[in-house]
């Protein structure tokens, strides 16, 4: 058991809100005001200066604002709140608060081994070259199956969890190397690196989210200060 146990996890994973960066507000406001001016007085474009104003207000600034909005959404899509905004994901968020250090995701989340606000993305994005792009493509597919209600009863990973994602942080760390099973022989370590021995499925660290057992679990109440 970790810290004090609780019968229910905190209601932290409700829909959250984040404020865009200040420069976004500035560009957004300027864009809206200039467009509004041209909406009220389109005859301003009869002068050369008005034509230039229209090009900036109706083409350059909307593209800039749209891009900034997209970038904002892109960053938000990496947050825990975003992933847990689909109700089928709620149990997975709840499992992060299980008060049992056998639960690998819970241990990582509760001890800040992963950023708590980006917990899902950190572990479920491949650290390969196109990992982020691949995650976004998968995310679009997830949105589709969610809103078309075509998601399966039991959610599974596309592929067995790759040791590469574990070793991205743990590989070479003192704590990792101190465990004899990791480094006893070159063969063992090579097998881990090559994925012939799975971190999660070889009986060593095989308790992940286990959402079907949550009803009997005890929960960590969360950090005291937020």
């Amino acid at each position: 058991m970790l810290l004090a146990a609780s019968v229910a996890p905190p209601a932290e994973f409700n829909l959250g809100s984040l404020s865009p960066r200040p420069e976004f507000y500035f560009v957004f406001t300027i864009t809206a005001l200039l467009i509004l001016a041209l909406l009220v007085r389109p005859d301003l474009t009869r002068q050369r200066a008005g034509k230039m104003l229209a090009f900036v207000a109706l083409f350059v600034l909307p593209i800039t604002t749209g891009w900034m909005g997209f970038a904002e959404h892109w960053e938000r899509s990496k947050t825990k709140e975003f992933c847990l905004s689909c109700h089928v994901m709620k149990p997975y968020g709840k499992s992060l608060y299980v008060d049992d250090n056998e639960y690998i995701p819970a241990v990582h989340f509760q001890n800040n081994y992963v950023p708590s606000d980006h917990a899902c993305y950190t572990c479920h994005t491949s650290y390969a070259l196109y990992g982020s792009i691949q995650a976004k493509m998968n995310g679009m597919r997830h949105l589709w199956v969610y809103y078309t209600h075509s998601y399966p009863d039991t959610i599974k990973l596309y592929h067995p969890y790759n040791n590469r994602e574990c070793l991205h942080c743990h590989g070479g760390s003192r704590k990792f190397e101190a465990v004899s099973a990791h480094k006893d022989t070159d063969t063992t370590f090579t097998a881990i690196v090559q994925g012939r021995v799975s971190c999660l499925e070889s009986g060593c660290h095989d308790v992940a989210h286990e959402v079907h057992t949550l009803k009997d679990a005890e929960f960590w109440p969360g950090p005291k200060e937020r």
């Binding site: 957004f28 041209l38 909406l39 050369r48 909307p62 593209i63 604002t65 749209g66 909005g69 959404h73």
Partner: protein, 68 residues
């Protein structure tokens, strides 16, 4: 104000679509949720694209600018 020309009417429609796009963008940024992302990337960006396209069409319709 004198009657609007065809180009100016198109510019006005462009402004309407772009303002609608901005409204959708602002609304979608109120909540961190998958639905916000979907609404922005479909409705919001579509409105921006239509607004910008209408403006570009108005440029084609107007022809080359006269030197003042």
């Amino acid at each position: 104000m004198a009657a609007l020309t065809g180009v100016e009417r198109r510019i006005r429609w462009s402004a309407i679509f772009l303002l609608a796009g901005l409204a959708v963008e602002a609304a979608s940024l109120l909540k961190v949720a998958a639905l916000s992302f979907v609404v922005f990337t479909t409705v919001g960006l579509l409105l921006f694209a239509v607004g910008a396209a209408l403006f570009l069409l108005s440029l084609l319709e107007a022809g080359p600018a006269e030197k003042t």
